[in-house]
């Protein structure tokens, strides 16, 4: 398959006219047509004729670094003229009058949109079961979840329905499905990529990031989408490094910290085994492994679920059942639960004890992460405590569902970047991933470590059987 190649390889093939963008777009639509009915990775597919017109244009003149490359978007990003639902029937008939900044940047960079990916409604979920458009199925085992909330995007990349996807990570929504579907996903530093046009789940935690087959592809996409946006006051003016050029930064001597709290009880034995192999690989590459401690990690989940639900109760207030045509009754049970919890946390009389206290806890976590950089350069841990869950495993017990986010939410609370990478498989052939966590705005180091790891292993080249 052409879409097995990296973006850099595709660019070479395209510029030497060995392949055309039309070939890529045809292949992507072919995969969507063949596999999407089984997997529910898309909510809306763009009119193929339009995409092919874009492809022909790219074939006649190169538009940018991603010229002619097909991609897809989590349905959390508004697209002018193309239905955008955020995974919820509340927005079932919403055709946005504008496009998100990230979409504009990618289109200006020459990339070609294929469609909009399924997701947990409003980002509310880690398994992609909380969607009104059919639970997303894991292509490695369709009796299991794909992870969420950017599940559709992870599946689209894993099954070559696109070269890359744009996910959205509020508490692990890019990393969880990436690790469950054996793809790479980057949660960027808060402020690195504009959120303008990203339908908000929890504004102080939401981040816009790429999902792709490898760290080098992620570097390619990040170079196009990163940077200041006058329409997003929280976007950073910090210069965007040349991520691609920094990939081959030598790894030797890098101090890789492993928070001991990540390896405490609750970790699946297969995840532990894979993780120990990963540690050995990094050691063999010349990294210095150090054990570190972030004592307040245990509080990250309650802190996260107070702040995220408070913000989402506010953000979803605009869907009043009048302006967008669909009733609030259509909010799912999980979304209603989060609205109610958040409303309660902000209520006079409880506000100080719940919301304000959580923001203080968040500050403590930020300080603890700051301190950790004295002893290491990067952190390494598992992405999820378990292999991909079976459908329904977590949906009956919200607390269990929330605890699945234990390793992913701390970086959203602290604003740090984190790269999830494919790291191996369980005995049943289920993907298991790891995540690297870096200093603020140091995506370059994360990507270079990911790149070194991918050269030493071949997990990221594995494809689900349904593709063969």
């Amino acid at each position: 398959m052409l879409l097995d190649s990296t973006i850099a390889e595709l660019r070479t093939l395209l510029s030497s006219k060995k392949i055309s963008s039309r070939d890529l777009v045809e292949e992507a639509y072919g995969a969507v047509e063949k596999l999407n009915p089984k997997l529910s990775a898309f909510i809306s597919v763009r009119d193929k004729k339009e995409a092919l017109l874009d492809a022909d244009r790219a074939d006649s003149s190169v538009k940018g670094p991603l010229s002619g490359i097909p991609f897809c978007l989590k349905d959390a990003y508004v697209t002018k003229g193309l239905k955008t639902t955020a995974g919820s029937k509340v927005l079932d008939t919403f055709i946005p009058p504008y496009s998100a900044s990230v979409v504009q940047k990618l289109v200006a960079g020459g990339a070609i949109l294929i469609g909009k990916n399924n997701m947990d409604a409003w980002g509310h979920g880690s398994t992609n079961e909380n969607t009104d458009y059919g639970a997303v199925k894991n292509p490695w085992d369709i009796t299991r979840v794909a992870g969420g909330s950017s599940g559709g995007s992870a599946v689209a990349v894993a099954t070559r329905m696109s070269a890359f996807a744009i996910g959205e990570d509020t508490g692990g929504s890019i990393r969880a499905p990436s690790s469950m579907c054996n793809v790479a996903g980057l949660k960027v530093t808060y402020g690195r990529v504009s959120r303008y046009g990203s339908i908000a789940y929890a504004s102080s935690l939401d981040t816009v990031g790429p999902m792709a087959k490898s760290a080098s592809d992620i570097a390619e996409v990040l170079s196009v989408i990163a940077g200041a946006d006058p329409k997003d006051a929280t976007s950073s003016r910090r210069e965007v490094p040349a991520y691609g050029a920094l990939l081959s930064k030598p790894l030797a001597g890098t101090r890789v910290g492993i928070p001991k709290e990540f390896l405490a009880g609750g970790l699946d034995t297969e995840v532990r085994r894979v993780f120990e192999d990963v540690v050995k690989t990094f050691e063999s590459l010349g990294a210095m492994i150090v054990s570190v401690s972030i004592p307040s990690l245990a509080y990250a989940v309650p802190i996260y679920y107070l702040i995220a639900t408070s913000e989402t109760s506010s953000n979803l207030n605009r869907y009043d059942g009048v302006r967008f045509g669909q009733s609030r009754e259509l909010f799912t049970e999980e979304t209603m639960r989060r609205i109610i919890v958040g409303t309660y946390a902000l209520k006079a009389g409880y506000h100080d004890e719940l919301y304000t206290r959580a923001t203080k806890g968040r500050t403590v976590l930020v300080r603890e992460f700051d301190a950790v950089w004295n002893t290491c350069d990067i952190l390494l841990g598992p992405t999820m405590p378990s292999v991909p869950y079976r459908f329904g495993d977590l949906m009956e017990d919200p607390v269990k569902l929330y605890l699945a986010d234990i390793f992913t939410v701390p970086v959203n609370l602290t604003g740090l970047p984190s790269l999830a990478l494919p790291a191996g498989f369980s005995e049943d052939g289920l993907p298991i991933g790891i995540q690297l966590i870096g200093k603020k705005f140091d995506e370059a180091t994360l990507l270079s470590l990911g790149y070194a790891y991918e050269r030493a292993t071949d997990w990221h080249t594995k494809k689900p059987n349904m593709l063969s």
Binding site: P96, Y98, A200, T234, N317
Partner: protein
């Protein structure tokens, strides 16, 4: 029982739409009154579309801080915007972006003839859209978002106001300062300045705040505010005299009936679930910016009236009359400078103007007014005979000055002129008097 038994306890909440180029959190034009059609100055941000984000307007923040500095308020160096949640069709996000715990300005007071009125805070928020309610059955109510998201400054006073006249005086003074700063058109009729008074009564001698307050809204002139407060004093006094406690409620002023009418009961405090807007970073106001904004504040009316008194001897009541508007005051002052050079009493001129003895059209230029005034004055000047008589007398009475003049002293002629003015009891016709001296002293 007499009405003297109860004293007014009144505070004001004044909303002012700022005249910035663009809206508070987006690039849309801030000009709702000039829009050709409803919903023409709108975008995803001010329509509250999914995914849209607010970016605060620097000019609006600076205007608010300038008002705070002009009023002597303290400025919060670190400030932020908060979300205030409620549902109403004119509020597309389901929350209003406002400032809760950290307003840009706080403290200070504004002096009135009945004592100072303390200022609690001045903060910045976004205006709501305009609802156009259906007039007839079967019609739809409509929403015009041209006004939605316009920068709205809110000033809140402490409940220090003791009379309806003081409320009116405070409002007028504040409006005057806003106009001097040029930060808003402050047009009450159009609603870009909105007055709300909270009114309650307490027994004379009591110092604690009453346990209720009535908020008065729908007031679009200072006169109506005065009347609404007066009406409320009567209404509440009657209730209190019957041993009833007035209800905590919002009442609207009805111009036609001259009464306030219940709009909404406020027995239960609403919970707005305020929290810091995560879409907007904390706002830091640097020392540098604050000093720059301070330096930009023009001389305000009260200072100008004071200075005119010192420099030109203009009586306060006349000075106040001529300085209501900053551009007009500047025009008058340009004239004062010229008249003073002409040796004409500015104080007398101002008195004449104020008492409408001298009338000008609004478009008169400084030169026109001066020419007009001088011509009129020369008509009132003493006759040539009287001048000749007075000059002869002065010459005969001041032999030394005459000798000095003949020896070439410029001062001496000024002295002699002065003596002649005294004799004639006017400075008018100064040129003629001087000529007469030159003629008689040859």
């Amino acid at each position: 029982m007499s009405e003297q038994k109860y004293n007014l306890v009144c505070g004001l909440e004044i909303h002012v739409e700022l005249n910035t180029r663009s809206k508070m959190f987006c690039g849309c034009k801030n000009d709702p009154f000039e829009a050709l059609a409803p919903n023409s100055f709108v975008c995803p941000v001010c329509l509250g579309m999914p995914g849209a984000l607010p970016v605060p307007n620097k000019q609006a923040i600076e205007s608010t801080v300038r008002l705070g500095l002009a009023l002597g308020c303290s400025i919060n160096r670190h400030s932020r915007f908060d979300r205030k949640h409620y549902r109403y069709p004119d509020l597309p996000k389901g929350y209003q972006i406002t400032q809760y715990e950290l307003p840009f300005c706080y403290g200070s007071s504004l002096q009135t003839s009945e004592g100072p009125v303390r200022l609690r805070r001045i903060h910045l928020e976004e205006d709501t859209a305009k609802l156009l309610h259906a007039k007839n059955k079967g019609e739809e109510s409509r929403i015009d978002f041209n006004r939605g998201g316009v920068p709205l400054m809110e000033l809140v006073t402490e409940p220090d106001i003791v009379s309806s006249a003081q409320a009116k005086e405070f409002g007028k003074k504040l409006r005057n300062i806003i106009l001097y700063l040029g930060i808003s058109d402050a047009d009450l009729e159009r609603g870009n300045m909105r007055l709300e008074a909270s009114v309650s009564l307490r027994k004379e001698g009591e110092t604690a705040l009453p346990s209720y307050k009535v908020e008065l809204k729908n007031i679009n002139s200072f006169g109506f505010m005065e009347k609404a407060i007066q009406f409320e004093i009567k209404r509440q006094t009657a209730l209190l005299e019957h041993g009833e406690q007035p209800a905590q409620e919002t009442r609207g002023w009805h111009e036609q009936t001259g009464e306030t009418v219940l709009q909404r009961s406020k027995e239960n405090a609403e919970d707005y679930r305020y929290f810091p807007d995560p879409d907007i970073p904390l706002i830091e106001l640097s020392e540098e910016l604050i000093s720059k904004l301070k330096a930009d504040i023009p001389e305000l009316q009260s200072a100008k009236v004071e200075r005119w008194k010192k420099e030109y001897g203009i009586e306060e009541r006349y000075g106040t009359l001529l300085s209501e508007e900053r551009t007009e005051a500047d025009m008058w002052e340009a004239l004062f400078i010229v008249l003073k050079k002409d040796g004409i009493s500015v104080a007398d001129f101002v008195k004449d103007v104020s008492n409408k003895k001298t009338l000008f059209t609004a478009v008169s230029s400084v030169a026109d007014i001066r020419a007009h005034y001088l011509a009129k004055k020369s008509a009132d000047a003493p006759s040539p005979e009287k001048i000749a008589e007075a000059v002869a007398l002065v010459i005969s009475e001041n032999a030394k000055a005459v000798a000095d003049y003949k020896a070439g002293s410029e001062k001496a002629i000024m002295f002699l002129l002065g003596q002649a003015f005294k004799k004639l009891q006017t400075k008018l016709g100064a040129d003629l008097i001087k000529e007469e001296f030159l003629k008689q002293l040859i």
